[in-house]
């Protein structure tokens, strides 16, 4: 097998999480993303009264998930985690805002467009669970 084939083989079998850069990539993304979220008056009320360090840890979980990385969340967990937000009016418009920030964060970090699309698709697949439908 040539080196090129070898590389290709490796790329094919790696998860999006690994291809995007694993935990360091998540760490870089979380800060940018969370600043955008807190500055966005459409959605920042959902994040308001919370402990910053804990919130950052949770956003790390968000990115790990969006990148298809290792996590133990089920759809039911997503429902539970966001149920109190749905009660406070969380809807599609808020979900769309989060999707915007997800993409723009990854663009800022120079993540290739095809990988961004993959991450967006994974996040999109959580829409009904997050919105409790």
């Amino acid at each position: 097998m040539t080196d090129k084939q070898n590389n290709q083989e490796a790329t094919m079998s790696k998860s999006l999480y690994e291809r995007i850069g694993g935990e360091p990539a998540v760490n870089a993304a979380v800060e940018l993303f969370y600043r955008k979220v807190l500055n966005d008056h459409r959605i920042n009320r959902f994040f308001d009264n919370s402990d910053m360090d804990k919130q950052i840890a949770k956003q790390k979980a968000f990115f790990t998930m969006a990148f298809g990385g290792p996590n133990n969340y089920t759809g039911q967990d997503m429902r539970n985690a966001h149920a109190h937000l749905v009660k406070r009016g969380l809807d599609d418009s808020h979900f769309d805002a989060v999707m915007e920030h997800l993409s723009s964060t990854l663009v800022e970090l120079n993540v290739p467009a095809d990988l961004i699309a993959e991450a967006a698709a994974i996040a999109e697949s959580a829409r009904n669970d997050v919105l409790g439908r």
Binding site: E31, Y34, R35, L38, D51, M52, D53, I56
Partner: protein, 323 residues
């Protein structure tokens, strides 16, 4: 319900209870101060099963391995056999050598030790009274200054520990001091980085230690210290800080008064608001926040939004123990 066994006795732990609350309810004498996993004064050890992971968060790996855990964070998953700390294992005895007032409600307490006490400027310790009452206090000096620890203690009316320190402790008295704790300290790296120090009341204690340490290490970036309270009479070390600012061109001292009466030389406003309006961009800055828990929570968020990276934001909230 699970059973907790200590020597010959067993105690019930209800589903919504922590090990600490269960033991206190059943009148077992365990020391504690914060009930939030910060002070580590409630550290105990499991003798049979590994404790739940969440009860070990923030402990050193060596302690984790030996099944030490924080009773205040532990919701047991099964019956446990527990060993309470042998107090002498964690506490060193010191002697009070200075006991003076810094202003109308803040005590300067200096404790001396026989041997060097290792710590980083800005960390805190737990002080313990003979009856086991324990509270956390920040260290205000740097390790370079002989075998002593300096503390600034504010009198809380009706506060059990602070009133005891203010009213009863005398020079020459012994006092038990824990190992140093906390991550709010200066590391001598990136010396051109800007440093923002914001404190209310005795929040100046750890900040003064951090400041002295940074200057001693030749930190060359700008260092801003904002110290605030309601009235000028509740600030302290004002002249010393002004003098330091004269000696070090990169150090700026901004005492803030939130109350109505603002003497010449002080800035009017809440310390957090003054700091934020003074510094427009905190990208790349290191931030230290000490004192009032609400101020700290708000400032963590605001300094982050102004560009400071969350890994560069250090904070010690002076939580008062909940009942």
């Amino acid at each position: 319900m699970v059973k907790l066994t200590i020597e010959e006795n067993t105690y019930a732990c209800q589903p919504d209870e922590t090990v600490l609350d269960a033991l206190l309810r059943q009148e077992v004498n365990v020391s504690y101060a914060c009930k939030k996993g910060t002070c580590h004064s409630c550290m105990v050890r499991s003798l049979d099963t590994p404790p739940p992971e969440a009860a070990q968060s923030g402990l050193k790996n060596t302690l984790k391995k030996r099944n030490h855990f924080l009773a205040c964070l532990c919701h047991p998953e099964q019956d446990m056999v527990i060993k309470l700390p042998d107090q002498s294992e964690f506490y060193t005895e010191g002697t009070v050598v200075v006991n003076d007032m810094l202003n109308r409600n803040t005590l300067l307490l200096i404790i001396a030790f026989k041997d060097a006490f290792e710590f980083n400027a800005g960390q805190f310790v737990n002080l313990q009274r003979a009856d086991g009452l324990t509270r956390s206090y920040s260290i205000a000096n740097t390790p370079q200054e002989s075998n002593t620890l300096e503390f600034h203690i504010r009198r809380l009316p009706g506060g059990r520990f602070s009133e005891w320190l203010h009213d009863e402790i005398k020079v020459g008295d012994p006092i038990a001091v824990s190992e140093p704790r906390g991550h709010c300290f200066y590391l001598p790296e990136r010396s051109e980085q800007g440093i923002l120090l914001v404190g209310t009341g005795t929040g100046l204690a750890p900040l003064a230690g951090i400041l002295t340490d940074a200057l001693a290490h030749g930190h060359s970036g700008p260092i801003y210290l904002f110290h605030g309270s309601r009235e000028a009479e509740d600030l302290y070390r004002i002249d010393e800080m002004r003098q330091l600012a004269e000696q070090h061109q990169n150090f700026l001292y901004i005492p803030c008064i939130s109350g109505k009466h603002v003497p010449e030389g002080f800035t009017h406003g809440r310390v957090n608001e003054v700091a934020l309006s003074t510094l427009a961009d905190l990208k790349g800055w290191r931030v230290f926040l000490c004192g009032h828990p609400e101020m700290i929570n708000q400032m963590k968020k605001m300094t982050f939004l102004k560009g400071a990276s969350s890994a560069d934001i250090y904070a010690d909230a002076f939580l008062v123990t909940p009942f």
